[in-house]
């Protein structure tokens, strides 16, 4: 069991979060507190609102009711607050979403240069360091289209880390990958976790959840159904819906 690195500092706070798509109530009274250094794994059936929930945290989705506070900054209509939060929150997507017209290196230096006003030399040096950390410095001058899925996702992680985020959001980072490439991405994520990054991961990689998560959250129908530390969550799920879900995904 991993030793928790959580501190007392509150990093992400969702209070009574509600969201509707038209008539459809996607998120119902979500309450979640994530402390600095905590790693949260969020799972649940498709359509349960898990991606929508983490996408609300950096305002890729707009919520209608409730409060979101990231590192003491309230997420509201103020564009300054939204941009401030986005600078502190990194995100990794299911489909990588690299910029195909830019080289790997350019992908990594773009935001530091244009958002953080970092000098190019410094941004490139930092990008190379991070590309080394995700073990693909030799691909720096290639275009994303020349890389494998696993490599692209590692670039996406490096690109996100170039902004020195305090929190990382992972939205099904391995779901679009071939089985043999999943490991290389998870290895990078595990390394990141051991370094103390605050992480919220939507994933069905239960092995990953067991190794790094401080808490596993199970969502269904737009609600948090169950929340527990991984050992309890997997061995002793309380709710019938959680038991059913776990039996479905763990039976093979």
């Amino acid at each position: 069991m991993s030793h928790s690195q959580a501190t007392d500092k509150m990093m992400v706070e969702l209070r009574n979060l509600n969201k509707w798509y038209g008539e459809f109530h996607v998120l119902k009274n979500i309450n979640l507190e994530v402390k600095q250094g905590e790693k949260i794994v969020i799972c649940g059936p498709s359509g349960s609102g898990k991606s929508t929930m983490i996408r609300c945290i950096n305002h890729l989705e707009e919520h209608q009711k409730g409060d979101i506070i990231v590192n003491d900054i309230p997420l509201n209509e103020d564009i300054k607050n939204i941009e401030a939060i986005r600078k502190e929150v990194g995100m990794v997507f299911q489909h990588f979403n690299l910029f195909p017209h830019l080289t790997v290196l350019e992908n990594c230096v773009l935001a530091p240069i244009w958002v953080k006003k970092m000098p190019r030399k410094e941004a490139e040096a930092q990008a190379m360091e991070l590309l080394e950390r995700v073990k693909i410095p030799d691909q720096a001058l290639k275009y994303p289209g020349q890389l494998s899925g696993g490599q692209q996702q590692r670039v996406a992680i490096a690109r996100s880390l170039c902004m020195n985020p305090d929190v990382m959001l992972f939205d099904e980072p391995t779901s679009a990958l071939d089985p043999e490439m999943i490991k290389e991405v998870l290895d990078v994520m595990i390394e990141l976790a051991t370094e103390g990054m605050t992480m919220l991961c939507v994933t069905h990689e239960m092995g990953f959840a067991k190794t790094v998560a401080d808490r596993v959250i199970f969502m269904d129908g737009g609600q948090i159904v169950e929340e527990n530390e991984p050992h309890e969550f997997f061995n002793n799920p309380q709710h019938e819906r959680t038991q059913l879900f776990l039996s479905q995904i763990l039976q093979h």
Partner: protein, 250 residues
């Protein structure tokens, strides 16, 4: 009938004068048109109704009426207004050359704006989300992601638009300009060799098209080069312009 090669050779220099004017019209109005098209397309791609209504009406008007009518409206129409004749713009508006430039620019701006609009909307949403998630402001997104991406996507279709413009420029001859078509007609009026002259003019149009096609091929390769690289290409094989000496030292 007799075929007069001699006439073609004799008048070829004059025909080339016309060809230069044709190319000048296409180039100048193309540059003005694309400059107008970029902001128009961004407005058109907006989700705000009051922002996209102006470009919508503009594009609707210029795509929905014949280019010839637009040329006549500028050339004959503008002079009907005393305000125009008294304005400081009159020295420009009374010249057929500038009337043609104005009509062509407005026309191609409308078509190009629609092209760029569709290209902007063809950019995968995920790329924009990634830019947003990194805290990029809208203006940085436009400059660094949206416009470069849209330009690459629109390039093949925009090449098509330029070729259409080249052929549309023949209408300049209807307002007394001696472009390639105008020159051919003037020569024919003097020599009565329509077949030879129109064939020669057609050949020159083909040659100009060939240059435009080649130019766009080249630009496509430059701007969309990321699509041409194979995953086995090593950085050493990549374009030297892309290489950063700072990185090479590592």
């Amino acid at each position: 009938m007799t075929w007069e090669w001699g006439v073609i050779w004799q008048y070829l220099p004059r025909l080339m004068d016309g060809a230069w004017l044709t190319m000048e019209l296409v180039l100048v109005s193309g540059l003005i048109g694309i400059t107008m098209a970029i902001p128009l397309s961004l407005m058109r791609a907006s989700s705000l109704p009051w922002v996209k209504v102006f470009p919508f009406i503009y594009i609707y008007f210029f795509r929905g009426t014949p280019l010839l009518v637009q040329i006549f409206l500028v050339y004959y129409g503008a002079s009907q207004f005393d305000a125009v004749r008294d304005s400081i713009l009159w020295p420009i508006l009374k010249q057929p050359y500038w009337c043609a430039i104005i009509a062509f620019s407005l026309n191609t701006a409308a078509y190009s704006a629609e092209l760029f609009r569709s290209a902007i909307q063809a950019i995968p949403v995920g790329e924009i989300e990634a830019a947003e998630a990194m805290g990029m402001s809208k203006s940085v997104q436009v400059q660094r992601i949206i416009l470069p991406r849209a330009f690459g996507i629109a390039l093949p279709a925009y090449g098509n638009e330029v070729i259409l413009m080249l052929k549309g420029s023949a209408l300049a001859s209807t307002i007394t300009l001696l472009d390639l078509t105008g020159m051919a007609r003037t020569i024919i009026a003097r020599t009565y060799t329509p077949l030879e002259m129109f064939l020669a003019a057609g050949m020159v149009y083909l040659a100009i098209s060939a240059v435009i096609i080649g130019l766009f091929r080249f630009m496509e390769y430059r701007f969309n080069r990321y699509q041409y690289y194979h995953h086995t290409d090593t950085p050493k094989n990549l374009d030297p312009l892309l290489r950063d000496p700072h990185i090479d030292q590592k």
